[in-house]
């Protein structure tokens, strides 16, 4: 296995580097507990604006992350650079030097035990080897489909090889590719967006996405204001992904539960029966590898089953506090945050987006949310704005485009029992914030609190 796709750069075998690091730690501190993660590969992004490519970037990756614990005195170090013996030696010395003088961590949960992880299979050779010309072709298709409208966006191809090893004998490796095309078309008074993501670049149809964005932009042109207030909403998948990230970071996170900051009550009907939520790194439609930064395998984990809160995400630290097992949701560098989900899946319903639209009495069809920020984590009150197209819907039909609106809404209340008239069948992969991915459909919600127009 090599870490440098497309023939670029010297080959680095992440498994060999991981073993070498552990051997070197053992030689310097025989009793140390150690875990190491190696990530190599390439990341590339072709960015366009004003209907032409203006930034086209690529990088080779070589990341070594090491955590060492000496009798509970724990420290983490990392290196983005070449894994020469000299560089690794300095890295290990730095970790050991720090660990020797730090106070013991009474909550140090120890290392992950030996356990197999599934091969999630989210890999595509062609994407790993994708050239800038192939990304430019998708961009060109998107731009051409804009038929005269200004377009902007980006096309991404990433390939990552990951190896994990710890001194307790755990060894895991995996590889994953991600391709994404995300863009807007602009009329001068409106923007329309379209996006797609998958493990393989071949799944991205630049022309279809460009046509969709252009159609949305034209349909959203010359929008007029609507008075703020409560409206039904039909949220497209990117809005749903945005909404769910708050539930996970501040709610299903084992650290938030432990500290009493979370709304989560296991076994309670906190959501509409139409809501079934899980984290599933092995789902065919998602991306990534099926183990976490601590080497714990990820299994499909139900968080909400038919509206009943059913699970909590854990790292080894939060699991130890809760006297349970880690669910495999540790993220490197995120100890303070707690347990974070990276493969969120909201179970699809049976109705198409058109059927959902037809069921809206008087409400708004919303394409994207923008700049959402939490006001209170317990109540999940969040403020944000709409973006890239909003339309008034009456009696199941789109009536007219609406200017962007600001909302201040409890996301928990928005999904409460009785609040979700419909779940779409249009499962879409959305790459979200906090490094997470969301495989989600459209949602029809009974009420959404719009608190102001974007113009004041």
């Amino acid at each position: 296995m090599t870490g440098s796709g497309n023939g670029r750069g010297a080959a680095i075998d992440p498994n060999e580097v991981a073993d070498r690091v552990l051997d070197m730690v053992r030689a310097k501190a025989a009793g140390a507990e150690a875990e190491v993660t190696i990530r190599t590969g390439t990341e590339a992004l072709t960015r366009f604006a004003g209907s032409f490519i203006h930034q086209n970037v690529a990088e080779e990756k070589s990341h070594i992350a090491l955590r060492v614990s000496l009798d509970g005195r724990t420290t983490s170090v990392s290196l983005d650079g070449q894994p020469s013996d000299d560089a690794l030696g300095r890295l290990i010395d730095s970790a050991l030097e720090a660990a020797r003088v730090l106070p013991a961590d009474p909550d140090w949960p120890g290392l992950a035990p030996v356990a197999d992880a599934a091969d999630a299979g989210h890999w595509d050779d062609a994407t790993a080897e994708a050239s800038p010309d192939e990304r430019a072709q998708r961009v060109g298709d998107f731009v051409a489909a804009g038929t005269g409208l200004e377009t902007a966006g980006s096309c991404v191809t990433n390939a990552t090889y990951t190896a994990f090893a710890n001194s307790a004998g755990q060894r895991l490796s995996g590889r994953a590719t991600v391709a994404a095309l995300d863009g807007i078309a602009r009329t001068g008074t409106s923007d329309g967006s379209a996006r797609a993501a998958a493990a393989g670049l071949a799944a991205l149809d630049g022309r279809a996405l460009g046509e969709h964005a252009a159609s949305k932009a034209r349909d959203a042109a010359d929008a007029t204001d609507l008075p703020p207030g409560r409206y039904e909403v039909l949220l497209e998948p990117s809005c749903v992904a945005n909404l769910l990230q708050f539930l996970f970071v501040y709610g299903f996170n084992g650290r938030a539960v432990e500290e009493g900051r979370s709304f989560v009550q296991l076994g309670e009907a906190q959501f509409d029966p139409a809501i079934t939520l899980r984290d599933d790194a092995t789902h065919a439609g998602t991306v990534g590898v099926a183990f976490d930064a601590e080497g714990t395998p990820k299994r499909p984990l139900d968080l909400v089953r038919d509206g009943i809160t059913a699970g909590i995400l854990h790292t080894r630290r939060t699991a130890a506090k809760a006297e349970t097992q880690s669910t495999g949701h540790a993220v490197e560098g995120a100890t303070e945050w707690g347990a974070l989900a990276e493969n969120i899946v909201l179970e699809a319903g049976s109705r198409s987006p058109e059927e959902l639209l037809a069921s809206v009495g008087r409400g708004l069809l919303v394409t994207d949310f923008w700049y959402t920020r939490i006001l209170d984590p317990r109540t999940q009150v969040v403020t944000g704005l709409t973006r890239n197209g909003v339309w008034l819907v009456e009696d199941g039909r789109i009536v007219r485009p609406i200017s962007n609106l600001r909302f201040t809404q409890s996301f928990l209340e928005a999904l409460a029992p009785g609040a979700v008239p419909g779940v779409g069948s249009d499962l879409s992969l959305v790459l979200g914030g906090f490094g997470g991915t969301f495989l989600v459909p459209s949602l029809h919600l009974a009420s959404w609190n719009f608190t102001g127009g974007a113009q004041g």
């Binding site: 992004l45 209907s51 983005d80 650079g81 430019a136 902007a152 807007i184 209170d376 127009g453 004041g456």
Partner: protein
């Protein structure tokens, strides 16, 4: 390292670039975090590599390798040109660069106390002790952290620039969270993101975390039972300087980024409500409003000697007596606007392309003070310490929340208010500013986590700010 950067530039030129520059960077960082009396994480990171930028026609190509050897640098230079050339199938008008004399020189930030010379044990004791004090005074969750960044970079351009710089950045943060029956309340010190600067450990000592721990814990606890900020369509609003830093960052700093104004960020970070044709005449705020972007301010987090294109740091007027007069720019965007480069292009590491970033975008002080503003306010609300921030993609409509508020009645600070929020439209809001704190209240706030760009870059920006009063503002927006 100059040889490595030179090899990269020469390779990019040989591969067809009309212009190229390369940055070799070595970054060492340290972060420690304590929670409830326990030191939870100690992280030390090193990054080393070279990033090459090559211009061909209308597109930048950029390629980075985690390797500072000349062979890898040459490969990166060739690849940068190849990536740029691949853009030709979707090209625009050829990009020019605003004229800039080649720069040669060295620069280092001031650092009185080397943060690496302070022992980890002392740093850990400081953080653990502060969190224990907060717990003893009512905090359910007490957190404290520090960060250090130590950056060496060497820039070489095909026009003859050769610049090396050494930045030491340092700072700390702490917060106390009180968990109530239905909600949580948090107080941070000295601000939501702490305080950071291009300074040494002396900055952390000056913060006096230990001396402020009890107060913020007690405030967080008191907020749980404080009355909620009233919902008012229009009232007088006084903002403390920490919240003013956020207000400046979000509603002025991002709005005047020239790449946003030109539409280069349209699909992601967004655009701007500002139209270049109105620069020099548009009223952005009241006559009290004077905003500069000044990367020369000693100790401020957005300070440097040269930007990542080699443009020497210099102050740029952004808003003068309420009129919009300037932008944050680099050589490519400035050429399109027909202005000299503002020297505001930076990358957050060797593996990222330099882009327009805020330097120290700040408000020049006025002649009043927080006390005089309170005394002059018959009926209003005082808010401070940012808690939430949301602004539209044109940087026009914002809604910000603060951790703490106080009722102002009859010229006096009254009872505590919880969950204070306010909302507005940028030029109307800034136009209502009628009192501004003086030089003694001028604080160089540092924001170490400004996200922008694709792939995402995390910028370090500075925001000199003073307290200010605004008239007729909507407050208390609820969910």
């Amino acid at each position: 390292m100059y040889d490595t950067a030179t090899a990269a530039v020469e390779a990019a030129l040989a591969a067809g670039a009309s212009y190229a520059d390369a940055r070799v960077m070595e970054i060492r960082s340290e972060a420690m975090a304590a929670r409830n009396g326990v030191l939870e994480s100690t992280e030390r990171d090193e990054r080393a590599g070279v990033g090459v930028r090559a211009l061909i026609g209308s597109s930048w190509g950029f390629y980075a390798v985690p390797d500072v050897g000349p062979a890898a640098a040459r490969r990166a230079g060739e690849q940068a040109a190849a990536v740029a050339r691949a853009s030709a199938s979707v090209s625009g008008k050829a990009l020019d660069l605003a004229p800039q004399a080649p720069a040669t020189g060295s620069w280092s930030s001031d650092c009185r106390e080397d943060p690496w010379a302070v022992t980890l044990a002392e740093k850990g004791d400081l953080l653990e002790g502060a969190t224990r004090t907060m717990q003893q005074h009512g905090a359910d969750i007490a957190e404290a952290s520090h960060r250090v960044w130590d950056t060496h970079k060497w820039l070489v351009s095909s026009e003859g620039s050769r610049v090396d710089q050494h930045h030491v950045e340092c700072g700390a943060a702490m917060s106390a969270t009180a968990v109530g029956e239905r909600e949580t309340q948090r107080r941070s010190y000295p601000g939501i993101r702490g305080q950071y600067g291009t300074r040494g450990w002396e900055l952390v000592r000056e913060l006096d975390l230990a001396g402020n721990a009890a107060r913020i814990a007690e405030e967080a606890h008191a907020l749980l039972t404080a009355p909620e900020c009233p919902s008012l369509d229009a009232t007088d609003l006084i903002l403390g300087s920490e919240q003013m830093a956020l207000q400046i960052h979000e509603s002025v700093g991002h709005a005047v980024e020239l790449d946003r104004i030109l539409g280069w960020e349209a699909a992601f970070a967004g655009t701007s409500w500002l139209d270049l044709a109105q620069m020099g005449s548009l009223r952005f705020g009241s006559e009290l409003m004077n905003i500069t972007a000044d990367a020369t301010l000693p100790g401020a987090l957005g300070s440097f000697g040269y930007d990542d294109e080699g443009t020497p740091a210099h102050p740029v007027d952004i808003v003068r007596e309420g009129t919009w007069v300037g932008v944050l720019s680099g050589r490519d965007s400035a050429a399109l606007a027909g202005i000299p480069s503002g020297g505001a292009v930076r990358a957050d590491g060797f593996n990222r392309i330099p882009m327009v970033r805020m330097t120290n975008v700040g408000l020049l002080p006025g002649q009043d003070s927080l006390d005089s503003m309170i005394a002059a306010t018959d009926d209003g609300v005082l808010m401070d310490t940012n808690r939430s921030w949301s602004i539209d993609d044109k940087r026009l409509n914002f809604q910000f929340g603060c951790e703490i508020g106080w009722e102002i009645k009859g010229g006096k600070r009254g009872r505590l208010l919880r969950n204070p929020t306010y909302t507005g439209i940028s030029p109307r809001f800034w136009g209502s500013m009628d009192m501004l704190g003086g030089p003694s209240e001028w604080t160089f706030w540092g924001t170490p986590n400004c996200g922008k760009g694709q792939p995402m870059q995390v910028g370090h920006t500075g925001h000199p700010a003073v307290p200010a009063r605004f008239r007729g503002i909507r407050v208390g927006v609820r969910g």
